[in-house]
């Protein structure tokens, strides 16, 4: 177990909460999309938060896509006592990806060797909360699961998620981010498949071909103009939206697609809210 102790003192804790509430420099570097590529070592060093928790929180807050996560972050940091060890908050949070009665993946894997191999990984995650699990044991668990998957069948994305859980978070804390990204992708795909207004195959093909055509037209137009360096992503989107809007056949599909994305985001927000509440509740049980 590592020696990370939360915050170090009350003033540091309150300064961090204030930065996040104001979406200050720590928030921007840590809890937004920037964290995907960034080194979060300083978060653990400066604030005593376990590296796995530091990696978990951006993913659990949708990488700053909206402001909904600000209240969660504030409540969580408030709940974590100064001096607490926070690695097991991260471990218990990612375990939900398997165990949660509504959103967990356990219910997506049928009984058999693959499920047994998944459960062996989950048992190791639980064991690692109390004692160190050596590298060869983690590796053997991953190898068993990969072998079971080759010989049996289970959704690849579920296997990828469980393989992401099978790492020593003292050595590879970023594995929690992998697990959260994989879990999000699966829930997003499920929400898409269950949506109330799906595209037919023909509509989906037409939508994709229109999107490809518009993209190629914009690229071709811009490559013939001299100010290409000023054409950023926002300008590209604006131009693409203009072209969709003037196409009477494609535009209704575009509007349906946007509505579907809104519904999927709402479902994901609901899931995040459930997990966030469980993480905050967990933090309130920490003792120093």
């Amino acid at each position: 177990m590592t020696a990370y102790r939360a915050f170090g003192n009350e003033a540091t804790k309150q300064a961090l909460r204030a930065d996040i509430r104001a979406k200050g420099p720590v928030y921007t570097a840590w809890l937004t999309q920037a964290s995907m590529e960034g080194d979060l070592t300083s978060i653990s060093q400066d604030y005593g938060l376990h590296p796995a928790l530091a990696r978990l929180l951006p993913a659990l807050g949708a990488f700053g896509q909206g402001d909904e996560a600000l209240a969660f972050y504030d409540a969580l940091l408030e709940a974590i006592p100064v001096g607490a060890e926070t690695g097991n908050i991260a471990r218990r949070a990612v375990l939900l990806a398997w165990t949660d009665p509504i959103y967990g993946r356990a219910q997506r894997v049928e009984a058999g060797p693959v499920r047994e191999a998944c459960e062996a990984v989950i048992a190791l995650v639980r064991q690692s909360m109390a004692t160190s699990v050596d590298r060869q044991t983690w590796r053997a668990a991953r190898a068993r699961l990969a072998q079971a998957q080759r010989e049996g069948s289970a959704p690849d994305k579920v296997i990828d998620l469980v393989l992401s859980l099978a790492w020593d978070l003292e050595q590879a804390p970023g594995a929690v981010q992998d697990a959260m990204v994989a879990w999000t992708a699966q829930l997003s795909a499920e929400a898409d498949a269950a949506d109330e207004d799906p595209f037919t195959d023909a509509e989906a093909a037409f939508f994709k071909s229109t999107m490809d055509r518009i993209t190629e037209e914009i690229i071709a137009t811009r490559s013939n103009e001299s100010d290409g360096d000023d054409f950023n992503y926002e300008a590209f989107l604006e131009e693409a939206n203009r072209r969709w809007a003037v196409d009477p056949v494609a535009q209704p599909l575009k509007l349906r697609s946007l509505a579907r994305q809104t519904r999927i985001k709402a479902r994901l927000a609901q899931w995040r809210s459930v997990v966030q509440k469980k993480v905050v509740d967990d933090a309130t049980t920490l003792v120093v």
Binding site: A143, A146, Q149, A166, A172, G174, D178
Partner: protein
């Protein structure tokens, strides 16, 4: 110190083709977000498989001949080379789980 070694066309023979252990080659570009986002997972995998699998990086803009020789059309592209031959190939941002499932059969001289 990073275990991800940067290689070039001049060093490719020594770093990759003549290696006594399998080598995962990461074809990447400086402007590629998914390439940068893959680095932490690659660093962790490089530590996990140290001495069993080597990890090298090839910047496709600096080394276009290598990218062309291996048919790299998008980044990141990962190619595992063993005994001078590509044995695994995958594209896109990688997770530790994906790296483990692909690389572990080749670790420890098991294949």
């Amino acid at each position: 110190m990073s275990l991800l070694k940067v290689t070039t066309v001049d060093r490719f023979e020594d770093d990759v083709l003549s290696s006594s252990i399998p080598v995962l080659v990461d074809f990447h570009a400086a402007w590629c977000g998914p390439c940068k986002a893959s680095v932490p997972a690659l660093e962790d995998a490089a530590r996990e498989f140290e001495g069993e699998i080597a990890f090298v990086k090839v910047d496709i803009d600096q080394e276009p001949k290598l990218a062309e020789a291996y048919g790299v059309q998008s980044v990141p592209t990962f190619i595992l080379i063993k005994d001078r031959e590509p044995v695994e190939r995958f594209i896109g941002q990688v997770s530790r789980g994906k790296l483990a499932s692909v690389l572990e059969p080749y670790a420890g001289g098991s294949q």
